[in-house]
Symmetry: C2
Subunit: 322 residues, 2 copies
Amino acid sequence: MAEQCVIGFDMGGTKMIAAVVDASSRIVGRARERTGAEDGAEAVYERVVAAIRGALEKARKPKIKAIGIAAPGPLDRRRGIIVETPNMGLRKFPIADRLRREFGVPVVLENDVNAGVYGEYKAGAARGYSNVVGIFIGTGIGGGIVLDGRLYIGATGNAGEIGHMIIQTDGALCGCGQHGCVEALASRTAIAKDVAALAGSGASQFVREEVGTDLKGIRSGVLAGAIAKGDRRVRGVVERAAHFVGIAMANCANLLGPEVIVLGGGLLEKIGPMFLKEAERSMREHAMESVLAGVKVVLASLGDDAVPIGVATLAREPRARA
Amino acid sequence: MAEQCVIGFDMGGTKMIAAVVDASSRIVGRARERTGAEDGAEAVYERVVAAIRGALEKARKPKIKAIGIAAPGPLDRRRGIIVETPNMGLRKFPIADRLRREFGVPVVLENDVNAGVYGEYKAGAARGYSNVVGIFIGTGIGGGIVLDGRLYIGATGNAGEIGHMIIQTDGALCGCGQHGCVEALASRTAIAKDVAALAGSGASQFVREEVGTDLKGIRSGVLAGAIAKGDRRVRGVVERAAHFVGIAMANCANLLGPEVIVLGGGLLEKIGPMFLKEAERSMREHAMESVLAGVKVVLASLGDDAVPIGVATLAREPRARA
């Protein structure tokens, strides 16, 4: 079975994780490196290679069959090029070609959120279903879709952009330039804006004392802490965000009739059950009766492993994308 | 080739159309009957049979392979039962069983909008593509999705409900009970509400004189007439509706990355080019750059034939639905 191992690689803006994934979707070796975008593309690439070699070492050097790389978009999947990664110093970088020459195996490139949703489908909370919508909430909101057991990327390769679904025409300004995207209404960034204002006005003493009014300080753990302390104003802001996520979930349910919707990402790792409950309540309020019967809502279960496991599986299965 | 003919049947609230469709998706015989729901289910059923026999007569009695019935939902596809049709007097009606016994061929039941979108995909404006979103605008707004060449109905069989996508949280009241569905903002009914008010206030003299302020009188032809006469207020209302449809199209493009979006239905048959232009402009303003490159927007081309052709083809191809 050793030769059935595949590398799953998660490129992030601050850290990168290489994992050796076996045929049962288990991680049998892993290594991480800082990204260090400030050192330039070649330095980042050298750390990618070092992380892969480190993970292989930990897994006792199995023969590998393929490499899967997950990165934030935009990507050119067909040619294996990272077109642009704002936080990573890679621009028009032919990562697939470089790694193919380095390791002598096929290399597949996929959007990181898609990879995470596919990981949850293959080995996590959505295992056993074939129609899955995944929504990952952190600084932004990302989405991915599995239809009939395959990752759905659409004709353009960019399908699944649930975060930029407009659910409030002329609503809050989004980072993408539009108004009323679910990301603008319900991401941790959107929540932090409101919570910073609560801290500023003194309405949330907890947040004011913990981190002040700096948006960047208002991380998921701070929100979880405030809610645990009984801060009803902060809780209200988070519930409102979950309400909006539920509307996006309802739209997805009406459009796609999935069997399961998986909620994950940094925010959900800290306040998952409470957020899920509100989001599901809102979804059931806003979706059509006829599509709701079959839809379950679950929390992602693989945490940081979802992306490397997902992209490793995509690299293993040439027909995994539709 | 005669034995390759299939019946495509379109059940509507006021009229029903039976068509004999050949293997090239051409209609080679057709007949229509009034629905006459007030006479009760058995009378309606008898007229269904009469229409089918009439169409077969016109096509010189070919041997048929299957029957496809398109009806407004909710349907129980698997058991071939029309669960409920508010305007048609059929309730829990086992139409597939009855027709199977009557004609001795398999019978397939499908939602009428799905059938229409599939017809445009197989023989109309979306022919040659494999990822299609169809939006049909009339009294309500219906949608259908073709992915990888197959009609996508989701795990629940009810996917494609584009009309009830919420794009304006807490917006206008929809017939479904929700607020801010695209149907509530952009259907002919939504347009008629605003135009009736224009007629009432005298802001649209044309509509006031033509049909007064009765919502039911403000049909697509009246809107077309007002616009042709240079009525800028009516035109503004219609453009606003198209703007909202464009937002729903943008959400669909972001989520599904289709190759083509087909706009059809009664409203579009009267003011298609003008409506499409506004809707496409709005879509391109609201969708993500990365998904837009590959998306075309076209007008449906089959008119009333889309539904019978689509459902006939679905009946012919057992694997046509995913």
